[in-house]
Structure formats: C-alpha cells, structure tokens
C-alpha cells in the first residue's frame, strides 16, 4: 500500500513535469530549454510516455476549443414543459441582445484571429532575433504567369483586358509568362521596355544598367522612353542563352546583345531557390552549397561541428530554418558578423 502511494506520487510529479514541458514547447523552447528537455526525456521511458500523454491531452483541448457544440451550457428546466414560454421575438430586449451577442462574438473572433497572428509572429522573433534572412518570394498572377522576386526586388502589376504590364522598380525578377496572344506581356524597367509572349526570362536592374537573360522563348527589347508600349518599333529580339545589357548612364539607350554559355547562365540564375537533398554529409558540405546560392555567407569556426553526418531536404533560400535548427538541436551556436556573415561555433 505504501509502495503504491509512493509510485502514484512519483507518477504525478512526472505528469506535472511533462505537462510543463508541453506548455513550454507550445510557446517555443529556447536553446537551453531544448537541451534540458532532451535530457529529461532521455532519463526514462516513463518521461516519454507521460510527455506523449500530456501532449495528446493538450492537443485534445485545442480540438475541443474548435468545436461549436452546446456542451457545457446551462440546463434548461423548461425544456420538456408543454406550451413553454418563448421569448418575444420582436421585443426590444430580444433584438438588442441578439445584436450585441453577435457583435461580441464577431469582435471576439476578430481579436482571436489577430491575437493568433501576433502570438505566432512574436514567438518566432523572440526565439532568434538576430537571424533574419528574407526568402525568395513567388507571386502567382491571375493569368497563370509567375514572378520570382529575388531579395529586395519590387514590382508594380498593371493588368487590363488588352494587355499585361509589370514595372520592375528595384532588384531582380525571373518571369515565367503564360501564353496569351490576345494580351501581350510587357515589362518596363528604368525606361527599357520588354515584350514577351509565352516565355521565361530574368531581368535585373543595377544602379546604371539593365540586364536581361532569356531561358525560354523570345523577348523583344525596346530601350526607349516611349509612353505607349503598344507602338514599340525597331525592337531587338533576344533568344535563349542570350543576354542583353542596356547602359542607363549613356545618352542613348543601346541594347548590347551577347551569347552566354550554360555555365554562365546557371551562375546568373543561381539565386533561384531549389530543393537540395543532402545525404549523410558533414555540415561543411551543406554550408558550401548554401554559400554558393546565397549572398549571406556562413563560416564554420570550430571544425569539430563537422563530426556529425547530416541529411536534409532544404530549400536553398531557407537560411533561417537551417540556422535555427542547428542552434536548437545540433549544439551549434551562430553569431553574426557586422558584414552579415554567420559564424558557426561548437556549443556543446
């Protein structure tokens, strides 16, 4: 009997600890908490079991909170009475009460939604405030065309019934244009006009130069400040594996066309995100590949971090994700240099 009481109390303590960990995990664990949690979990099978149970209970609460049921409402003593009195539907109190109740429900829902957004955002920032590297943005347009915006790029979209127009204000964008002969696709960048029908091309605006590479189809270039793009004349046609550059600092905007090799093409487009499959490699191999594909560079300071063999499926632009996982689960500490370089240390 005594032994039973002792076990029961011990189990309660484990349950309580498990419950605490579930709550902490839900709001996000710090690196130290993650280590402590791992140690606690590895101490005993009972810990694993209790954690799994408490986590299930926690999620069940979430699920129940989402149900629109009458469970928990107060009893209705008049439910089975014949000719029970009904509230006057048109009464002042009834209508006002319904309006207020619904408005309150609506306001509650709005606040809950806003709160969820704020909570999610804050949770992420507080865990790792230093590491912020934007990911490449993809914009799917209404006609099926797709724009991939390199970090910092800005565009304006102006679609009408007769034509599709995009102005590149800043940075670099890859255009994958859906064919539509009735609605030509135009791009305007710093006074240089491009026209495409069903094609793929990459446009970059430098401080004093516009650069465009065609990877599929043909693009017409008109380097002039004309107002009406429909009346473009004397266009230069750029084809696959060709690059055109227009010097914006010269008095006359002249397109300079050149052919480029597959290697140059690949190098020019390396910023575009790809899903990389790493299998049983040291961290240095992953770091090298990310460095090749991103302007932000990572440097391994302690060679000992290469001892672990890692596998992963990662988008090449998800530097934040890689750094956060290395820090929270692989005993690596990341520090940012003033120039934005990320230094990786052994933190075990």
């Amino acid at each position: 009997m005594k032994k039973f009481r002792f076990d029961s109390e011990a189990w309660s303590a484990v349950e309580q600890a498990a419950s605490d960990w579930v709550t902490k995990a839900d709001r996000g664990l710090s690196r130290e908490e993650q280590k402590e949690f791992d140690r606690w979990l590895a101490q005993s099978k009972a810990h694993e079991k209790a954690y799994a149970e408490q986590k299930w209970n926690w999620e069940e609460l979430d699920r129940l909170a989402g149900l629109q049921t009458a469970y928990g409402s107060s009893e209705d003593p008049d439910l089975l009475i014949e000719n029970r009195p009904t509230p006057a539907r048109g009464s002042w109190f009834g209508s006002r009460f319904a309006m207020v109740a619904c408005a309150a429900l609506m306001a509650g829902a709005v606040f809950a939604w806003i709160g969820l957004q704020i909570f999610d955002g804050d949770a992420g920032q507080s865990r790792n405030e230093n590491v912020i590297v934007d990911r490449i943005q993809t914009r799917d347009l209404e006609d099926g065309s797709t724009l991939q915006l390199n970090r910092g790029a800005e565009v304006e979209i102006a679609y009408s019934e007769s034509r599709r127009a995009v102005r590149l204000r800043k940075g670099e964008v890859n255009f994958i244009v859906e064919k539509d002969p009735d609605r030509p696709f135009f791009v305007e960048v710093a006074g240089v006009h491009l026209r495409a029908v069903g094609t793929e091309f990459n446009v970059r605006l430098h401080s004093n130069e516009v650069e465009m590479i065609v990877t599929e189809g043909t693009v017409a270039v008109q380097p002039s400040g004309i107002e009406n793009m429909d009346s473009i004349s004397n266009e230069a046609f750029i084809e696959v594996n060709q690059r055109v550059k227009v010097d914006l600092s010269s008095d006359e905007l002249v397109p300079l066309i050149e052919s480029i090799s597959e290697e140059t093409l690949a190098q020019e487009l390396i910023w575009q995100p790809v899903l990389i499959d790493f299998e049983n490699v040291p961290l240095s191999e992953i770091v090298d590949e990310f460095n090749r594909r991103n302007p932000v560079q990572m440097v391994i300071v302690d060679a000992s971090v290469n001892e672990a063999r890692l596998s992963s499926m990662f988008w090449s632009d998800n530097i934040n994700g890689l750094i956060r996982l290395l820090e929270s689960n692989f005993e690596i500490k990341a520090e940012w240099g003033e120039d934005g370089t990320i230094y990786l240390f052994n933190n075990s």
Binding site: A98, C102, A109, W113, Q117, R309, S312, F314, N318, N329
Partner: protein, 106 residues
C-alpha cells in the same frame, strides 16, 4: 426581419473568421508514405508536407518509421510516423523547418 438578417450575417462572418484562424494554425495535407527506413521516409514526408527537414544519420541508424496515409496536419503525420521509435522532433514554424532527433543519443 432586419435583426434576423443582421444576426445571420454576423454569425456567418464570425464562424468564417474562426474557421480561417483554425486553418492558419493547422492545415491538413494529403500524405502517403510507406513504412521503412527513417532516413528515407522522413525525406518523403518533408516533400509531401512542404517542410524542410534536418537530421543526423547517427540518430536515425537502424530506426524504421510507421506508414502514414490520408489527410492530416504535418505535425500529426510526423508524430504518427515516429511513434514508438524514440525519435522526437522540433518544428520551427516561422521557417517551416523540422529537426528530427533521438534525445538519448545526443
């Protein structure tokens, strides 16, 4: 009559907002991953979930995962896959990346 319309519309709006907030929290996706070697099946899960994944080969040595099939949230799918394996995971929701690891081997 007017108040009935008002009540109906506001209720509809409130329920829509509630359901939107639930969808943001947990989106259900279609999964189909057979049981097998963890280092292979976890990558299949990653592609189907649209979530990046990272793990140490040492942690997953000799571990097999359970089959998953049907519509569920990525977290539910992963929990099912690694149940009884000793593996646990850490989901960084902001960057859509997951680390899977074996706590007692670290």
């Amino acid at each position: 009559m007017v108040y009935r319309i008002f009540v109906s519309l506001t209720s509809l709006l409130a329920i829509s907002l509630l359901s939107v907030s639930c969808q943001i929290k947990e989106e259900r996706l279609e999964f189909d991953v057979k049981a097998g070697k963890a280092s292979e099946t976890l990558k299949l899960f990653s592609v189907q979930a649209g979530i990046n994944i990272l793990f140490s080969e040492n942690d997953l040595q000799g571990i097999e995962t359970q089959k998953i099939s049907g519509k569920m949230t990525p977290e539910m799918a992963l929990e099912k896959m690694i149940s009884d394996s000793g593996l646990i995971f850490h989901h960084d929701k902001d960057s859509q990346a997951i680390a899977v690891y074996y706590p007692s081997r670290n």
